[in-house]
Symmetry: C2
Subunit: 299 residues, 2 copies
Amino acid sequence: VWIRVLGSAAGGGVPQWNCGCANCQEARRGGTNLQPRSEDSLAVSVEGDRWLLVNCSPSVQRQIEAFPPLHPRAPRHSPIAAIVLSNGDLDHCLGLFQLRESQPLTVYATARVWEGLVERNAIFRTLKRTADQITWRPLELNRAVPWEGGLGIEARPIPGKLPLHLEGVIDPSPEDNVGLWLTNERDGRRVAYLSSVADASCLTESDLDVECLFFDGTFFTDDELERLGLGTRRAAEMAHLPIGGAAGSLARLKSASARRKIYTHINNTNPILRADSAERRAVERFGWEVAFDGMELRG
Amino acid sequence: VWIRVLGSAAGGGVPQWNCGCANCQEARRGGTNLQPRSEDSLAVSVEGDRWLLVNCSPSVQRQIEAFPPLHPRAPRHSPIAAIVLSNGDLDHCLGLFQLRESQPLTVYATARVWEGLVERNAIFRTLKRTADQITWRPLELNRAVPWEGGLGIEARPIPGKLPLHLEGVIDPSPEDNVGLWLTNERDGRRVAYLSSVADASCLTESDLDVECLFFDGTFFTDDELERLGLGTRRAAEMAHLPIGGAAGSLARLKSASARRKIYTHINNTNPILRADSAERRAVERFGWEVAFDGMELRG
């Protein structure tokens, strides 16, 4: 399986349009210590010819152009064979509205995520201009569905929350936020993608026994925004388990047997973005990598 | 007045994600003959400190980062003081959903464009998290509203069409598609922005007596998509007056007294994108310029 990290930031990316924090300033200056990042998304392929996108970020156009295997190979064509959504957050779905121009799309999503998008947004009609333009493949929880080339997609419920725009509109459901386990059925090797995790205690040893674990790296500390004077909301209120601290993911997942552990969905304020930070050294000491746009994994 | 062309392409940009036409291929190769372009938008400022965006494209994040005067000057800040929408097309509005993070926004739009966005899309609630996050300033037709620094904004109805996603949902109205006249009240000098024009016969001599006219350059010929084997719809069916031909904008606007005439909202298939094309030479011979991302006008 060939995996390309199309984007590795939380909503807003790095730099964020209205943010002048030290990280965003450094990203704007350029240089190697902190590289700009777009909203988290993966491209996954078994053979390298047809691709599955994991989430569809607002920067999807740029992410496609930066990776030639996703370029069209005919006057009207896309190697993007399907898209799977981990939740209905705008940083994971807004890119769908950029994949228009009457190109057929197949989307894997839970019923809740799908209905929240399709039934409540008139703009979605731009993707339903013809009967065969958009095809929904329902993701049922804990049931793998076979995709192309012998790749299985399984969604498992992960503590998270509703997208901001649906809070107070619909009741929360376990289908609102899922982790995705992609299994190469030829050799049984698995990749797990968990970009929004409020609480890791539901994860079993088996859940974490994967070739590669992508995990929520939104914040390093629970009070990160408050400390920087950028807001009052805590990581916990935003349904993101911080990396550091006694209850953080670094400590919780210390014994996870994943061969590679990679933080993604990294907020612009997170100190692990800086190659020279103590927090980056800390996560690396625990065997974690920090995802970056353009990172690739093969095998 | 300082004007920056943030984007100069029609919906989908150049290259377009699912297009392998000769222009898109050349844009991907790089080089100077055809430069990539994002969806059409302007940034306009009187003093250079606070800016008005004309339309808000899906590439707005990238457009902001490419133009330092739009960068934040404090930990949470944006020099973007307001946004004015010329219609409800996704290539003009989708960027609003990227200007989140609880930053207050002021949007000028006709009632029809505003209602089509706000009342029919749950995702819009992401911009209404606090009472003062988004402020709508209604644009009434043919009535200038004063903006900051002595800049007046006037919307005039222009033949166009409903956004695709609202066709069959609401009835067409003259408020669906407007041209924007921006007047520097100190010296009376005006800029007109008409990025979607189905028919130019409504335009008076006075309408066109401006310092700078930005005009719909979507297609060069009415059957451009069909000729290239990329679709069957004619420019006229898509409510865009082509540039060429006896009835095209080049002929129609030959005697317009605008000091500068600039084609924008240029589709990826349009031959004027290529510096070496006969069509580019033709429009230049008639005194037109071809907008590009990063073009600036001062004065």
